[in-house]
Amino acid sequence: MNKIFWPVLLALTLSACGTTGGTQATVEDRTGGKTDATATTAGQAGSDAKPTGGVAETAALSGTGVAGSSLNGKQLEGSGSYSGDPRKNPASPMSTRSIFFDYDSFVVKDEYRPALEAHAGYLLSKREARVILQGNTDERGSREYNLALGQKRAEAVRKALALLGVSDAQMEAVSFGEEKPRNEADTEEAFAQNRRTDVVYADE
């Protein structure tokens, strides 16, 4: 499970980064931070160390195949000396903050189970923590109907967390509908990036 999960997640987050160009807000920055971190790790692991600093994001994009093969799950988990906010540890499944959905779908895919389990674990350990689940859709169709569809995506994640024991009082599911697209392009790839629920902590 983990071996499949990580490369998929990595590919998702990397491709998400590459096309946005930093147009969006907070959630974007975190994904960007993660990309930097993984690129650095890849450099330490002995792959091409050239892409550093400002070039890192674009370089990491074209080199996904290389980075993916050098970054297996064990290596990252074994590095476990991260001392900051556990939610921001790039090695933790909690660094997954976006749950992507298929077209016209509101089902949380199995690949997000480790991330949701990690978020649930954090919320169960910190009862004062509050999380906002922000549902989003692509831009096709009615704005208000899309707001309701985005709500269904937020609710799907809320229910998944509730099944893992998280209290309703710690969660709020809201929708941005099509109003805050991560990728504003009129392409299927952009639409796929906009069909998602973002996990945002109230104190962040």
Binding site: S142, R143, L147, Q151, E155, F176, K180
Partner: protein
Amino acid sequence: MISVPILRAVLLFPLFCFAMLSASLPVRAAMEIQVFGGAANKIAVAMVPFQTAPGQPMPALTQIAGDDLNRSGQIKLVDASGSQQPVELAQVDYGIWRGKGAEALVIGQVTALPGGRFEVRFRLLDVVKKTQLAGYSYNISPNQWRATAHQIADVVYEKLTGTPGVFSSRIAYVQKQGKRFELRVADADGQNPRTVVRSGEPLISPMFSPDGARLVYVSFEDKKPVVYVQSLQDGSRRKTAAFKGSNSAPAWAPDGKRLAVVLTRDEASQIYLIDIDGGGLTRLTQGGNIDTEPVFSPDGQTVYFTSDRGGSPQIYRVAASGGEPRRVTFSGSYNVSPAISPDGKHLAYISRDGGRFSVVLHELASGQTRVLTDSARDESPSFAPNGQAVLYATVQGGRGILGTVSLDGKTRARLSESGVDAREPAWGP
């Protein structure tokens, strides 16, 4: 596609046209009005350019009023050029105007008054019966110029069609520029826009109160959708629905005291009724499906809404007092955003067909439908206060624009300021 007003302007008053362009450019780029085709039974009206006064505002009153009448789809403007340019009743040679095919004639003059004011006099004449149908004079300040032109268009329209005009009414819409959102109120021709809300977060779903004094809308400034009611008189506002979860899709009840809103506080998007002060919350629809986009029938007895309870989004109706919803639309797999005509006889909504989103008119008694538009990305239909046209948003050249279409679908006009992205229109009183 023929741009009638521009053509007419070039034919009739080239000098005015030039003056108008140079005068208005520094203020803002002019909105375009383009009329595509039209009905066969249009009433032919000749509008003689009014005699001008020194220092009068531009564009000319007959230009503004003529654009209004043209946009309605029920009136056809007849070429008024030639040697016969009557200003007073006694100067009218009816034979000449009959020869041009005109059924009605509009003449008038502008006179400068002390203190920078103007007197505007106009007469509407029946060319066939050789009688006066209406005649008014107005003492106005320069900032009432456009309002005066719209009032003239309203008088002409009502006398000729028997239906009140809506040219003096207003529209609301959201304009997006970069990451900035502005909720604006403009004249029904899209001109004279005034911003009533500015935000760095999205604004959607504005709707005028029945008396036109307030707007309800959804703002994302609180990091989630919240319903606000705002006074247009003093700009004050309050959160009417800010419950846990999302708050959206507000619709005024005809009495102006209640709203239908969509909340997610209990479960998936459901329709509730709430007083405009935030009290008296009652739930209207039940179940775990999406129920959204409520709108009241004019008598306040019925709420039409969008629901996916049948598997695909369709329009349903339910008694405002509650009960079992009934499905209204059956053809197609995506029918959303219902609007109801002021007489309660028609629905307009957005229907998806083969990936295209178009405005559809649905006669409730017969169930007959007619596609009104041929654009592909239409949204947010809203009826004119007289029920004779539908205002909607669409996308052209990658940006949002506003359009109106007559109920026969034959006259479409575009109200679009260049360089901005307009969406979420609502037609008010």
